[in-house]
Symmetry: D2
Subunit: 363 residues, 4 copies
């Protein structure tokens, strides 16, 4: 991962700002011959799209993806197929409300990149956060859809929110099928209305809250990931921590394993009824020695509360004057909600890259 | 980060197995003209060295580092100086006890890389874990000492254990100077004896436990790190998660920020008495938008319990037979203890790379 | 350089096929604060543009570049400025004549990528050569214009043709100002009409010819380039050899140095009248030990004859039938002519990257 | 390629100076399970070794390679096998004659890296050229031996000298088996004695001369190499141009293709008697569109005359004084002779990397 490109054999380069004409991704290294149309990508963008509920930003954009290169179709290819060459994906920005930015132009919103961008670059596109906007993640979601094509249908990747503030889902109620039945990507049907009420209250009080998300990948074969700096855990950590507002990542038992004993934490093995080795537990999150072990890959990510809130906060401006800031605008009370499809996409990209790299070295 | 190399402008490539003739690191991209001798590196290796207390592995090795290239000295250089060319560091393995490996040769120790290495590579150096051995981290520590030279003396990097099992240090007692006064890298003088007793009990019962470590870097200037996939948080997460037994990483408030509201989590700003901007809190862990903000960099890491324990565990062997395994040998009751200097080293390497990359792009 | 990205700190990723909706480049790692508008880029594209004379392909396209990201303007920035974030450049394809491709769809045109693309990828966009089209080089030219901004006005990069077939320019007549006075980028005013006549004859006979080009960069400071695999010569060789139809690259005296003695080839040094070291000759092409020495960087490149000719050639088709092929269409009698601005662009990109990397390591 | 590492999936990092304790290479990304011992590597080093004839430097060193990591052997592996982990190769420097360097310490030998290293790094290991010494190429030769293991025995890579000064081998006499029958890697038995006499004369007069080398790889399958910046030609150019004293690289017909017409240069195709496509000529050097086409890979490289000669040359010293320099010592009259095994090694490394990358993307 370096600057705006991540991945090694499956490489994604993203570009674009919140208030420019468009954003996009160039996906390089994709194997040839995969069926790929805009319709394969659009559903993931639709799921991420703002404006889908009152709990996410009200910016309204269709987020229509266009494939500009890297696929080819003729009468013999049975629909568009990847060519092995770079796939350029573009999403036009259509809802750039003209607005008065004078209030934030010179002021540093706490929790945002305003202060550090100005300090590092000496210039900053303050309209919507520029490159630091969560809008950038749409490019990742589009790239993730391509990654899923490489992984194939036997690998399923699903993310959901498991905690908002103090309200945690109950493992007993966990049902992955629920995540699209509520606006929170919540796998616990009983928790969803509690979150709804909690977030309504927060929004009314001009406040926000953080969240924890969990992503799982099933069907990943044994052998992906490369010691010692290309460990699958390391790649996942890097990918998830690059998501806006992420402050923590854990694999499998994660931080809880610090409190466990070796006996408790051990994932013992036995032969399964199918004659294949099986693990009796999955504290490892499906990764041993940096390499997938055939069990479900499990990762969690902590997302901090939305920084843009209606409560006034103390800050400074570019010239060193002390100011108070209220960030008006179309803000999510819990920015973690929109991170679920991004989390899925990033894991898909990491796994696609790991697959190709394993294939490259080990064959 | 890819396979056995990490970093971009400051790049470290490590090599070597636990039971081969030596291990080492090649450090490339180091600026020229820095004063560097083996004596600059050795203290960090000594601090990591096994056998220093009864709480860490009893393997006895001097871990003497040799600098094989990349420094030059004549009568005008005032001691050895880096040349800008690759610095090859080597540590010979001296305590490779000849031992009967027949018990683990074909059996997969739970929690180890045995099963995945065999599955991926079809071959495995089972003596001491081969490449997956914690011994590999000595190479990182050596490289970290070079990174510190690049960072200079104004940047101080310190790591300590803050939790072992359920026993957490008390923030009130936190004193960084304490970490070298006990065998646990514990900043809380009152907690150290409690850990000692707890670990004695665990060892006697043939068990082990996990730990949480915290690392801090003070003096880091504003502006290091690069959005969006080279975010400083992302690089730190990748680096720490690549350490043996790491299962979780968090920056600043980390997972706790998921439970905080936006008002609570905000790091408000004011002008300090020195005329410089200051943050009134540091939930961000010193990083905003992926870029250092001038405050202390704070990261934590969860280390799982030592997998090698004297309690028998269920497993399988290479041929699919179900077996019970006891891992005899020189094991740490809490492998997290030896991770502290490694954590410092990895943060040093990430920061040195970030410094050079910032210098490269922004000047 | 890897697949569709080249450079390290200054990185260019290109995408797009000849007959897709657009082509483009994402330029990452550009320093912030540089003045950049489409008008800075367009002249270089105009110089490369097909259809400008009867000696280059007659495809007519305006090749209008659009900057989609990475620049920002407000009332205080004195025009658009780079932000340090990725600059996305797009050029729409407007002249994709609908045409019957049945003749080349299954047949392998000698000298083209048809056979190898089909063999490697199992699929091929045969319309205009797809990704192997010389059209891809427009993306490089656009990126090169950004690179020139990084290099500043003290560094001047100029390329010209110095040989077409057996007809070589006369060093005595060399005048860089001439290259835009004829359609051949020819620095020798007397040679241009000879080439014109020669190429007219070739075209009439359905044939084509190769060329040698020379590029020079003046004003490059001492110290760019990094031993041993990032040598400036190595990076230039890689960049130039990646240009369509390139078959050879040489630096300074190049292949002629193989015939020289050490005494003849030595670039002796003296102190110049300005008090600065100067070289008495430049057989090295401005590079010593992989590092720029302050003298003019000089490189040459051999371009093979246009492969698409009207003379029938023996080939095979996808099913292994032997066929004869005439490549109809809008072809250049000497594809080397259009390579001059591409050669300039590639050298600019290599130098911009070398500048940033030197700044990163050495400061 | 970046600084001291080259390759992508098959990656080689070299380190070490002429007069340090050792030099070496870390080879990462090698597939597991390959048989590899020091005896597989040593013959290539022996072939490159100085002191083997009076035409190469008289420095006497055994150049014994040690494998420090990355292979494993037990009773079931049938000899040492690669593990998939980094292979550390080390060659100790044994003949570092203590010598008075005062004459070159502050003086810039024309044609050497002295001036640019001092200017860039502000420090220079002047003993034997430090990192710029041809001794570094021993590390490449060692790595190349590992690369050959990946390529297997069906791929044969051979390099030879084809021109020294004006004396060119006669294609009619070309016999690859001859290259080890004379001290010049000369495939033309009749040319070898002519070169011998010519070089004797040059040495006596304190002069040196350049050379052209050719390398060929037979048995390379169709499909290796990746457009557009990872073209096989581009990778080869980069690899060869990184060799000490290289000033030019060409593929196939190379610079001669600039003088050819399209009809002459076309590699027509027919079906071979074995039912496979065949090319009727090989002007392409086995590469089309950056991808191997199944024909022999052919590349040539120009090496400049040895810069260290006994004839006095004008130069300057560090303080800007004008001086005359004679470079005493153990010098080759034609440094190109020792470049042949290095050229083979670099091509082997490029091809091994290309093989793994193709396997990674296309499977």
């Amino acid at each position: 991962m370096t600057h705006n490109t991540f991945g090694h054999l499956f490489r994604v380069t993203t570009w674009g700002e919140s208030h420019g004409p468009a954003i996009g991704a160039v996906v390089d290294g994709c194997p040839p011959g995969l069926s790929l149309t805009e319709a394969d990508i659009q559903p993931y963008l639709d799921a991420r799209r703002p404006g889908t509920s009152k709990y996410v930003t009200q910016r309204k954009e269709p987020d229509q993806v266009k494939i500009l290169s890297g696929v080819f179709e003729d009468e013999r290819t049975d629909g568009p197929r990847t060519t092995g060459h770079p796939i350029s994906l573009m999403i036009e920005n259509t809802d750039q409300r003209s607005k008065d930015y004078s209030e934030i132009r010179d002021r540093y919103r706490p929790g945002h990149a305003d202060y550090t961008y100005d300090a590092k670059y000496g210039i900053r596109d303050y309209r919507g956060g520029g490159r630091s906007s969560a809008r950038e993640t749409a490019s990742r979601v589009a790239a993730g859809a391509v990654a899923r094509k490489i992984l194939g249908e036997d690998i399923q990747i699903r993310a959901g929110l498991i905690q908002i503030g103090e309200h945690m889902v109950d493992g007993e109620n966990w049902d992955w099928d629920e995540i699209h039945n509520n606006p929170f990507w919540c796998p616990d049907a009983k928790m969803a209305p509690i979150w709804a009420e909690y977030l309504d209250g927060l929004r009314k009080s001009g406040n926000s809250v953080g969240a924890i998300l969990q992503v799982e990948a099933t069907g990943v074969p044994i052998g992906w990931g490369s010691p010692v700096y290309g460990k699958l855990d390391s790649e996942i950590a890097s990918a998830l921590m690059s998501i806006n507002a992420a402050k923590g990542v854990e694999i499998g038992a994660g931080f809880a394993s610090a409190m466990a004993t070796g006996v408790e934490n051990a994932d013992e093995m036995r032969m399964g009824e199918d004659g294949q080795p099986k693990f009796l537990s999955n504290h490892s999150g499906g990764i041993l020695g940096g390499i997938s072990n055939g069990d479900t890959i499990v990762a969690r990510m902590a997302i901090k509360p939305t920084s843009s809130i209606l409560t006034p906060l103390r800050s400074i401006d570019k010239d060193g004057h002390e100011v108070d800031i209220i960030t008006k605008g179309r803000h999510d009370p819990c920015v973690g909600i929109r991170a679920a499809p991004v989390m899925e996409a990033m894991l898909a990209c990491v796994l696609a890259d790991a697959k190709l790299r394993d294939q490259g070295q080990v064959g």
